[in-house]
Symmetry: C2
Subunit: 418 residues, 2 copies
Amino acid sequence: MKKNAIYAQSGGVTAVINASACGVIQTARNYPDRIGTVYAGHNGILGVLHEELIDTSLESDLNIARLKHTPGGAFGSCRYKLKDPEAHPEEYERLIQIFRAHDIGYFFYNGGGDSQDTTWKIARTAQKANYPLTCIGIPKTVDNDLPLTDTSPGFGSVAKYVATSIREASFDVASMAETSTRVFVMEVMGRHAGWITAACALAQENSHDAPHLLLFPEKPFIEKNFLRRVEATVEEEGYCVIAVSEGIRDQNGKFLSESGIHDAFGHAQLGGVAPVIAQLIQARLSLKVHWAVADYLQRSARHIASLTDVEQAYAVGKAAVEYALAGKNAVMPIITRLSNDPYRWEIVPALIQDMANIEKPLPEHFIANGGYGISEACRSYLLPLIQGESPVPMKQGIPDFVRMKKDLIGKKLAPYIL
Amino acid sequence: MKKNAIYAQSGGVTAVINASACGVIQTARNYPDRIGTVYAGHNGILGVLHEELIDTSLESDLNIARLKHTPGGAFGSCRYKLKDPEAHPEEYERLIQIFRAHDIGYFFYNGGGDSQDTTWKIARTAQKANYPLTCIGIPKTVDNDLPLTDTSPGFGSVAKYVATSIREASFDVASMAETSTRVFVMEVMGRHAGWITAACALAQENSHDAPHLLLFPEKPFIEKNFLRRVEATVEEEGYCVIAVSEGIRDQNGKFLSESGIHDAFGHAQLGGVAPVIAQLIQARLSLKVHWAVADYLQRSARHIASLTDVEQAYAVGKAAVEYALAGKNAVMPIITRLSNDPYRWEIVPALIQDMANIEKPLPEHFIANGGYGISEACRSYLLPLIQGESPVPMKQGIPDFVRMKKDLIGKKLAPYIL
């Protein structure tokens, strides 16, 4: 029996979330007898609630293929979290109405832990309402904090970007340290988990190499100890390169990024822990410091994406459709590691309720060097994830990305007020 | 007659200054009957003054070739500026002593306008002292503010990096703007000249594309006018992407990066104009803002270097040696544009004294869109400079760079106190 499908992107986008979209749409197009039209929620689940559905059948095969090398969320994403279905069933009821109106038999939700919690709730609601719906989650998050899966699509590419960037900048700093900048601080994402911070250490070829100090959100920031390490590193190596997670906190649990930088009006300054660390080092150690905040550059850097990550992102999209067609429900394709060296992996199904709303921090045994570095176990885990290049087609000297036409289908229902 | 040579890197390093070093050393190795050993100043001119000379003949041909894809300054660079030779002749006398002690007949100085002023002064000092020395400048600066030459090696690669990065981040921001970040601010280098800021506009494919607003150091920042433009852009496009030069100033000539952000101790915050702009927009327009500061990442990003830039950087190094062997003195190879489309260029000699200490700001007719964008003339000028890819060999998922052994030769002179 032929049914239509809805695909929606959720939460912070990545350099490879569109590769998952590509996997979903290309695979669905291979089964025209089973899957009718794949609609994409315009700006994620909000577009589904508002019946703003993009007809992906109007996008050419070529443009769907180009999704594989286009960063951001091609159909739009959002941070909207559905309300609790017990207290507020209306949003779930609305979704069922939408599904009914457009003959939807498959729902694919591409997002992190929060979003998979939603997928699970939607699956249960449909079941209770006796509406025949196959709900499949598709993992995604640069933070790499999803449980069960070996890694989260999106993370490997950020890891490759930060390792490459801090390595390049370190060559710069090292060459001028004698008369110029002695300390370089690079801030990376990962508010609750230090996976991206840890990945910076992949820039090291030997024990003297930068980055010399990593500041993990899993470890409270102890100023005196940290400054002593910076001083010692500058003494030994001539310079010091530091990678810092945006989410580090002091011993009282307070974010360092909120630790007292104010503008002329007395407002707390907007984000940025790198300038706080830089200021501290300059004030206390009188060393010249430079800092960088990569922010969105890191999670959108498709030009230096990891081929492994791109392939895994595509594979989970493809598997999502295959699972749906095989009759699986309320599952999510995850990545299982079969071996480390060579890295071999496969896609297997996991139950959504087993991963919803659980965060996976960097385990203690992955942290070494007095809390400022990574262990060999961590390196062995991380290294395969950044392997392989996935060059982007270039046009006029810059990456050539695709933009979807985003043609919306006609509405059948009354407007919905959130 | 066979003479040795000294090569020194000066000032801020770039992603391609080592390609110039490669051009110098490889070309010199082709003329063993004319050029003996090429010594490199350890950390630039300071190494020459201190008789810390790296024997590049001990570096393998393979490793010299690898310089072409290694960022930073492979022999070390410094920001040290020689004193005025009239008032303080001692530094110049020291250099002549060093040259005499090591049978130096050629001096190659790889740096920006300041450094070429030094090259010129060394050439005159040698002439006055009747010491036979051939002095050749080699252009370099990411700021692109050298006169006479069509462009400065180092700039094209930064231009490609910033255009690529802001394009990628813009795809990210656009996909989530409805419920998340509305405004994205990216800070770029170029304290006195807006060339790098202008290059961000190469990310645009059409008139609606990001970046929407550029803040040039050539234009005073007028808050009210700027905020109106941000508001209008968000209204029209749904989001607004801004590229800002680190060097923008208010109408009183005061750097915005010094405009009132203080830490808990009352110290002015270290650099960073992007957070100042972000704070302003959030406070006045109540829009969610993210910001990035690429800092050294932009000038060391060899992984996304412009092939045109790499080729020009190599060509000026090669030409420097050829000019020296042809008996030219006190000249610098510069790049002349023969045609725009296709971009054709050649290397010609220019007199050093014609370019020393002159800065080339972005010309007025290159600025458009009410001071917030670039003209078609500017685009035509910039576009060829970012063309072509120059992939870096990868090892374990990250760029494989070379490190010089940096073997210093034995000293023959007494230590020198600066």
